[in-house]
C-alpha cells in the first residue's frame, strides 16, 4: 500500500489486548480514509446498538491517505463512532500533530473497545504498543496532563488527552492534541472517559512513508504548497486568524447573537474581529504540522478580570460561541473562556450554545434560580460563565452542572415549557457560529442533512456561498447569492460529495480551497495509488455520505430529522437578513431528488445503493 500503511491497531481495554490488523484494500478506495473509512469499519465491525458510553462502544481514530505528507493542510485525522450527545453517527476532525506521527509509527488508525479497569493511557512507539496506568493524571486539566506526559516521555511525543469533562462524561467533552488542537464536536471526550482512557501518546522513530509515484508527488506538492501559501485567504488568516473578517460577518448577518435572536450588533464587530485580537492579545501565530497558513493563535491577556497566561488562543467559532452568542463583546473573556474550555476539555461550540439557551431560558423565566442552584444566567455575564458555569458543567456539579452537562436539547427536554423551541440545533448537535439566514440559505440545507448534526465543515457550502469555489470539471459553475434558494440544492449535492472527500482525506478546508478537482484526483493517485478518475473520486465521496446516512437510519433517524429548529429558520428580526424567509422545504425536497434519498426514510434508495456498490449495505436497511 502507498500513503496509507494498511495497518490498524485494535485495542481491547478490558482484556488489555492489542492486535495489529489490516483492513481490506477495497475499503480504502471505496471509503477513502478518515471519517469515511471509520464509518465503514464501524458499520462492519462495531456494535451499532451499544450505548455510546458503554464498554461495548467502539471508538475509532482514523487517518486519511495524506497523513504525514509535508503538505499544508494534511495534518488532520478523524475520530468517529456513535455520539453520546446526539445518540446517532458522530465524527470529529482535528489538526495539529497526532495524525502524521501515527502514520510514521506505521498505523492508519486505532480501533478501541472495552473499558480499562483503572485510569489508563495508550502508549504507541512504532511496534511497541502498551496500556499503562494514568492514575497520576486522572482528575487533572488537559494543560497539566499534556505538559507532564511530555516531561515524562519526551517533547516530541504527540498526545491526545481528555480533561475532567471527559472523565465526568459530559456529553460534549472533547479531546485535545498537544493541548491546543481539538477533536471538538459530538462528545468523543466522554467516550474516552467512559473507557477510563485518559490519553493516547504516539512516537515514531522514523518518518518513512511509501508514496506511489514519488517524483510526480514532489512536483505536485511544491505546486500546491506554493499556491496555498500565496493565496489571499491564507495570508489573511495568517495575519489575523480565522476571525479575520468577523466584523464583515456582522454586517452580512452571518454572526449569531444572543442565541440566534439577533443578526446585527455594530460595536461587537470591531470588538471581536481578528484584527482586534492581533492588536490586543496576539503573541505569535501557531500552526498545524507542515502548514504554511498558520491560522492558529497564541495569546496573552496581561491584565483585568480575564487575564490569562500565554497559550492557545481562540479561533472564530470560540470567539463567537463565547462572545456574541452569549451576549458578550468582551474579547479577553472569550480568550479566557476558550482557554478554560481547553483545559476542562469542553467543546466551545456546544458549551456556548447550551449556555446561550440557558441565558434565554433564564431571561424568559423558563428556568429559575431554583433550577440553576442559585446561579444567575444573564446575557453577557462572562465572569459567571468562567468562574461558575463552565467549571460546574465540566465537573457535573450542582443543579447547574446536572442541567447543562448533556447539552441544550436534553436540558430543554427536561425543563419543558416549550423551551425546545429556542434551541438551535440539528439532530441534537448545537449549530455552529454561522447563521444560515445571513451566511447563506444553502447552509440551512447542509446543516440539516449533515449526518453528525448541524455542521458547517461537513461540506464547503460556506465557501460556496461566499463565492470561493469554482469546479467546472464537475459542472459546478454557480455564483451563489447567499440569501436565496437559487441553485442551492444543486450546489449542496456537490458540497456533500466534496465535503465527504475532504473529511475522509482529512485535508484542512482552509488549505484545500486552492486545490482543483483534477489536482485532488492526482493527489489520491500519486500518493496512495487509488487509480481514480474524477468520476470515481466524486462517487467515493457520495458513498461516504450514503453510509453515514445508513448508520443514522439504524439509530432510528428519518427524513424528518433532517431539520433545523425554527429559531434558525424564522425570518431574522434585524440586520441584513431581516424578514427574509428560508425556503427550507423546497431546497430539501429538491436535494433529496437530486441525490436519490427517499423522502420519508431519509436514506438512499435501494437502486442507488446498488449502483454505488453498496448492495450488502442496502440489504440491512431495505
Amino acid at each position: 500500500m502507498h500513503g496509507n500503511t494498511g495497518k490498524i491497531l485494535n485495542v481491547n481495554l478490558i482484556a488489555g489486548e492489542i492486535r495489529v490488523a489490516t483492513l481490506p484494500e477495497e475499503y480504502y478506495r471505496a471509503y477513502i480514509g478518515g471519517s469515511g473509512l471509520a464509518a465503514k469499519v464501524f458499520w462492519e465491525l462495531g456494535d451499532l446498538n451499544a450505548d455510546p458510553l458503554s464498554p461495548e462502544a467502539m471508538l475509532i481514530f482514523m487517518n486519511g491517505p495524506f497523513a504525514g505528507l509535508k503538505l499544508s493542510g494534511a495534518s488532520r485525522n478523524s475520530v468517529a463512532g456513535r455520539s453520546p450527545l446526539t445518540g446517532c453517527w458522530g465524527d470529529s476532525s482535528c489538526g495539529g500533530y497526532f495524525a502524521p506521527e501515527l502514520r510514521y509509527a506505521g498505523y492508519d488508525g486505532i480501533v478501541i473497545t472495552g473499558k480499562a479497569n483503572a485510569p489508563s493511557m495508550l502508549v504507541i512507539e512504532d511496534d511497541e504498543v502498551r496500556v499503562v496506568s494514568a492514575a497520576e493524571y486522572w482528575g487533572k486539566g488537559i494543560e497539566e496532563v499534556t505538559r507532564r506526559i511530555k516531561q515524562r516521555y519526551g517533547k516530541s511525543y504527540r498526545t491526545l488527552a481528555i480533561g475532567p469533562a471527559g472523565e465526568n462524561l459530559v456529553k460534549y467533552a472533547l479531546i485535545l492534541n498537544e493541548g491546543h488542537h481539538a477533536f471538538g464536536r459530538a462528545g468523543f471526550g466522554a467516550v474516552m472517559g467512559s473507557k477510563n482512557l485518559k490519553a493516547i501518546v504516539v512516537k515514531a522513530k522514523n518518518r518513512d512513508m511509501s508514496i506511489a509515484e514519488p517524483k510526480k508527488y514532489e512536483a505536485l506538492r511544491k505546486e500546491l504548497n506554493s499556491k496555498i501559501k500565496d493565496a489571499l485567504a491564507s495570508q489573511v488568516m495568517h495575519e489575523n486568524g480565522t476571525a479575520a473578517n468577523l466584523e464583515g460577518g456582522v454586517y452580512t448577518g452571518d454572526v449569531p447573537i444572543r442565541n440566534f435572536t439577533s443578526n446585527f450588533w455594530a460595536e461587537m464587530g470591531e470588538a471581536l474581529t481578528g484584527g482586534t485580537l492581533t492588536e490586543r492579545f496576539l503573541t505569535k501565530q501557531g500552526a498545524c504540522a507542515f502548514c504554511a497558513i498558520a491560522c492558529k493563535r497564541v495569546v496573552k491577556v496581561e491584565e483585568g478580570p480575564f487575564a490569562v497566561s500565554e497559550g492557545p488562543g481562540p479561533e472564530y467559532e470560540t470567539i463567537v460561541a463565547l462572545g456574541s452568542l452569549v451576549g458578550s463583546m468582551d474579547l479577553a473573556a472569550a480568550c479566557k473562556a476558550g482557554r478554560l474550555c481547553d483545559d476542562l476539555g469542553l467543546d466551545t461550540i456546544s458549551a456556548g450554545g447550551t449556555i446561550a439557551w440557558a441565558m434565554e431560558a433564564f431571561d424568559r423565566g423558563d428556568i429559575s434560580l431554583e433550577d440553576t442552584g442559585g446561579v444567575e444566567m444573564r446575557w453577557g455575564d462572562m465572569e459567571t460563565v468562567i468562574n461558575t458555569v463552565l467549571p460546574s458543567i465540566a465537573r457535573k456539579e450542582g443543579k447547574l452542572g446536572a442541567l447543562l452537562a448533556d447539552g441544550s436539547v436534553a436540558a430543554a427536554k427536561r425543563i419543558g415549557k416549550r423551551s425546545i423551541e429556542y434551541t438551535a440545533h440539528s439532530k441534537g448537535l448545537e449549530a455552529p457560529m454561522h447563521d444560515p439566514r445571513g451566511g447563506g440559505h444553502g447552509l440551512a440545507l447542509t446543516y440539516a442533512v449533515s449526518p453528525r448534526g448541524a455542521c458547517h465543515v461537513a461540506t464547503p457550502m460556506l465557501f460556496m456561498e461566499m463565492g470561493a469555489c469554482y469546479y467546472p470539471e464537475i459542472g459546478f459553475e454557480y455564483e451563489l447569492e447567499p440569501m436565496t434558494d437559487k441553485n442551492k440544492p444543486e450546489a449542496a449535492v456537490t458540497a456533500v460529495e466534496l465535503g465527504s472527500i475532504e473529511n475522509s482525506a482529512c485535508l484542512c478546508q482552509f488549505a484545500d480551497r486552492e486545490i482543483s478537482i483534477p489536482e485532488w484526483v492526482d493527489l489520491f493517485n500519486v500518493v496512495a495509488g487509488y487509480g481514480w478518475d474524477m468520476n470515481e473520486m466524486m462517487r467515493s465521496g457520495r458513498r461516504v455520505f450514503y453510509i453515514k446516512r445508513l448508520m443514522n437510519h439504524v439509530y432510528g433517524l428519518k427524513a424528518a430529522d433532517d431539520n433545523l429548529t425554527s429559531r434558525m429558520m424564522e425570518p431574522a428580526r434585524d440586520g441584513e437578513p431581516k424578514g427574509i424567509e428560508i425556503n427550507f422545504t423546497g431546497m430539501k425536497e429538491k436535494f433529496y431528488s437530486l441525490i436519490d434519498i427517499d423522502p420519508e426514510r431519509g436514506i438512499p434508495t435501494r437502486r442507488i445503493l446498488e449502483e454505488y456498490g453498496m448492495s450488502e449495505e442496502a440489504k440491512r436497511v431495505w
Binding site: 489573511v236 495575519e239 480565522t242 473578517n245 468577523l246 452580512t252 481578528g274 472564530y316 470561493a468
Partner: protein, 73 residues
Amino acid sequence: MKIRIIPIGLIKRFADEREIEVEAGLTSRKLIADLGIPAELKMVSFVNGTRIDLDNELRDGDEVRLVTLVTGG
C-alpha cells in the same frame, strides 16, 4: 463629490477609513476596483447603513461601508 469610505473587517488591509474626493456617477463596483480590492473577493456595499446594489451610483456625502463575504470556520 466627497464620500466617506469605511472598510469593514478584512477590507481594512486594502483601505483606510477616510473621506475622499471622487468623480460624480461613481458606483461601488468601480470604487472597489479603484481601491485595488482583489476582484476575487465577493463584495457588498452599504451606503448610509443600507445595502445597495454595487452598480448604483453613489452621491455626494455618502458613507460607504465596504464588506466582503469571506469568513473563517
